[in-house]
């Protein structure tokens, strides 16, 4: 079973790599699906594995997006170093805010994360001189990748770049959740009091995963800025945090791939429905989402697992 899982995983990434041939005219959309997938993966780490419910994760996405944008707008247009810097800054933001978030229960966490998200949004709006306010940050110029590959209009460079970065971070996340550290996170999600009783430093564990998750979210934001060559206030919007939750629930939380599946289903449905019916597409999207959640309690992946009869590797029911 382990081996079959590995084959499935390899197939998943090979199909994505074959995207250049399989969907050459849809590369811009595919890049944005991958970015949303990475963002959802970062959220899966804290919600699906550590049980931290958040409605303000766009804050870190936005920190990454604006960091990458500001660096590129002020002359540092080299993408890879810009990406790393943005990831580190988002991690720093995660580290600083983690003490506020990890204490407390679901309800307080919801309030605190929502509040943090709104604060950061308003801050970016007020600091118009730096961020460009509602008009968005102007003058973001990202240099060619490795000094040679320009970000072209077909989105080929962007897709390859995004896919490579997402794959590397996915491997890191996969390693993380399968390590003893990952196991103790699941223990904390199951019963924090008991974990404390057996000598686990719960707050430290949660702070660590929260920081890593913030870094991943920041990289996702930076990727969006670099491939769009623009950044606007919407990266920090509450809607982005809420959509993130929807994507992860639709895909299936606590399964690593759930975020990617959810992001793909959500964004592709969004894309096609809105070109079929630019005015009332939201109705059909909503109806589809309700149906998915009704039919598959643990999202699409959960449904797939049940259909295939795969034994769940997860520790317990979703929070």
């Amino acid at each position: 079973m382990r081996v079959r899982g590995l084959w499935l995983e390899a197939a998943f990434w090979l199909v994505l790599a074959a995207g250049f041939v399989l969907w050459p005219s849809r590369l811009p959309l595919a890049s944005q699906v991958l970015i949303a997938g990475l963002f959802a993966l970062s959220y899966d780490l804290i919600l699906g594995y550590a049980g931290i419910l958040s409605l303000g994760h766009a804050a870190y996405f936005g920190v990454g997006a604006y960091s990458a944008g500001l660096l590129a707008a002020h002359g540092w247009g080299e993408p890879i170093s810009g990406l790393i810097a943005a990831g580190l800054l988002a991690a720093l933001a995660g580290l600083i805010t983690s003490p506020l978030v990890v204490r407390g229960t679901d309800l307080t966490r919801l309030m605190i994360t929502t509040g943090l998200g709104l604060l950061l949004f308003e801050l970016a709006n007020r600091l118009g001189a730096i961020t460009g306010g509602v008009d968005g940050l102007q003058g973001v110029e990202v240099q060619p990748l490795f000094g040679a590959l320009r970000f072209d209009i077909y989105g080929r460079t962007a897709y390859g770049y995004v896919l490579a970065v997402v794959f590397v971070l996915f491997l890191a996340a996969r390693r993380l959740v399968r390590s003893p550290f990952g196991l103790s996170l699941r223990g904390i999600r199951g019963n924090p009091a008991r974990m404390r009783a057996i000598g686990c430093r719960v707050d430290l564990h949660l702070a660590a995963v929260y920081t890593f998750s913030a870094a991943c979210a920041g990289v996702a934001g930076a990727l969006l800025t670099q491939t769009t060559q623009f950044v606007g206030l919407d990266v920090l919007s509450f809607g982005r945090s809420a959509e993130l939750l929807v994507m992860l629930i639709v895909g299936g939380a606590g399964l690593l791939y759930g975020g990617f599946i959810g992001a793909a289903v959500f964004m592709i449905a969004h894309h096609y429905l809105s070109s079929l019916d630019p005015v009332y597409w939201q109705f059909w999207l909503g109806a589809g989402l309700v149906l998915i959640v009704l039919v598959g309690r643990d999202g699409i992946l959960g449904l797939g697992h049940r259909v295939l009869g795969v034994r769940r590797r997860r520790a317990g029911p979703a929070p």
Binding site: S25, R26, P28, L29, Q32, E122, N125, R126, G128, G133, V134, D135, G136, Q138, I153, Y154, G155, L224, T227, T228, Q229, F230, V231, G232, L233, D234, S274, S275, P278, V279, W281, Q282
Partner: protein, 390 residues
């Protein structure tokens, strides 16, 4: 048997030939508009405005069919706008980009217009800087500074000496405040107080009390189109600022034609400056209003956004006409658009050949009742106003 086969073959060839010919004779316009979310009104106005134009002037020009492809940017979402533009250019092979109700969306798409040398017709987004971002951008709508600056001059000249300003705290609000203050102070007026209100605010009571205490002769406001102007006007009447002798002056967004009737009697007497009023008296405006009602139904009231799209289509039609029969060439289209003069429902407009921005008449209007309905009635006009932001 073989006869039927030949028949089928001939039919197939004919069909292929016909589609080939059709492909050459179609000019595609990719319209990126906000069709859903909080700014859906903008998109619906624009799409219906464009369709109204096609209803009146036909779906083809110079023997070529003009196909409108509408895509939903969902709101202020630059990455979505950019992706849609990429797909429109690469997959649908559009000849023109059009639409754009919000500044970030237009700014994100600007580099693509430059790269592909496709004309990009901005039908609404009103920040000065947009046209500077690509030599292929042409704007047919307005800029906020363009309509706010004449109001300052008008107020100073018409016995309003002390003004309190209240604007929404975001880019356009600050633009409007700056432009108004500049001309008002230059005309000898005095700003006795200013406040910027949060974008999501709908509770104006504390601000209104402060304004009342400051005793200005008028309050200048800019608030985003929607529920905020309604809430402001309601609070204004409740706190009896009108009885304290304070007038309201604003840019035309505040008493926008689509919303005006929802505001009831309170805005009566409000003076605004703007480039379009549904009450504008001209043959072209009557044609526009009639066509819009046919396309969108009688309950959907058009406003300046629909006019922006109408004029955008007029500009596109004109550049197709001047392009001749070959494929649409971006540079030739731009040459046709620069200096283009149009008879718009709002009055005469021109595309400035240097800035590619719109030059137009700005009207001073007063909210009045006419035949039981409320209108922005124009009573003064300032011709050939350029965008002062450049």
């Amino acid at each position: 048997m073989s006869g039927r086969l030949w028949g089928a073959l001939a039919l197939a060839v004919a069909v292929i030939a016909a589609t080939g010919a059709a492909a050459q004779d179609v000019v595609k316009v990719g319209m990126i508009a906000e069709m859903s979310g909080p700014f859906a009104e903008t998109g619906r106005q624009m799409v219906n405005g464009a369709k109204a134009y096609q209803k009146v002037y036909g779906e083809s020009v110079g023997g070529r069919k003009v196909e409108l492809i509408v895509r939903d940017s969902t709101g202020p979402a630059p990455e979505v706008a950019k992706r849609l533009a990429q797909e429109l250019l690469v997959n649908d092979k559009v000849d023109f980009l059009a639409g754009f109700g919000l500044t970030p969306n237009a700014l994100a798409v600007a580099p693509l217009a430059t790269e592909t040398r496709k004309p990009m017709i901005v039908m609404n987004a009103a920040t000065s800087v947009i046209t500077l971002k690509s030599p292929y951008i042409v704007r047919v709508s307005f800029t906020l500074a363009q309509v706010a600056a004449p109001l300052g001059t008008w107020a100073a000249r018409n016995g309003i000496g002390k003004v309190y300003t209240l604007v929404a705290d975001y880019g356009p609000g600050i633009d409007a405040e700056t432009a108004f203050k500049k001309t008002f102070v230059a005309g000898g007026g005095e700003i006795v107080g200013e406040v910027r209100t949060p974008l999501r605010n709908v509770e104006f009571a504390p601000y209104l009390q402060r304004i009342k205490d400051a005793r200005p002769q008028a309050v200048f406001i800019f608030l985003p189109v929607g529920e905020q102007p309604v809430a402001f006007m309601k609070g204004f009447a409740e706190r009896e600022l009108d009885k304290a002798g304070i007038r309201v002056i604003a840019t035309g967004d505040v008493t926008e034609d689509g919303q005006l009737e929802a505001m009831g009697e309170t805005p009566l007497g409000v003076v605004t400056t703007h480039h379009y009023s549904a009450a504008h008296d001209s043959a072209q405006n009557r044609t526009f209003l009639k066509a819009f009602a046919e396309v969108a139904g009688p309950d959907f009231k058009p406003n300046f956004m629909a006019v922006g799209a109408w004029d955008g289509m007029a500009a596109i039609y004109e550049s197709i006409r001047r392009n001749g029969s070959g494929p649409i060439d971006g540079d030739r289209a731009l040459a046709a658009l620069k200096g283009l003069k149009l008879d718009s429902p709002r009055g005469p407009i021109m595309i400035d050949p240097e800035t590619r921005d719109v030059v137009q008449t700005v009207y001073v209007r007063r909210v009045q009742k006419r035949g039981g309905r409320v209108f922005n009635v124009e009573f003064e006009q300032i011709a050939n106003v350029k965008d002062p932001g450049k």
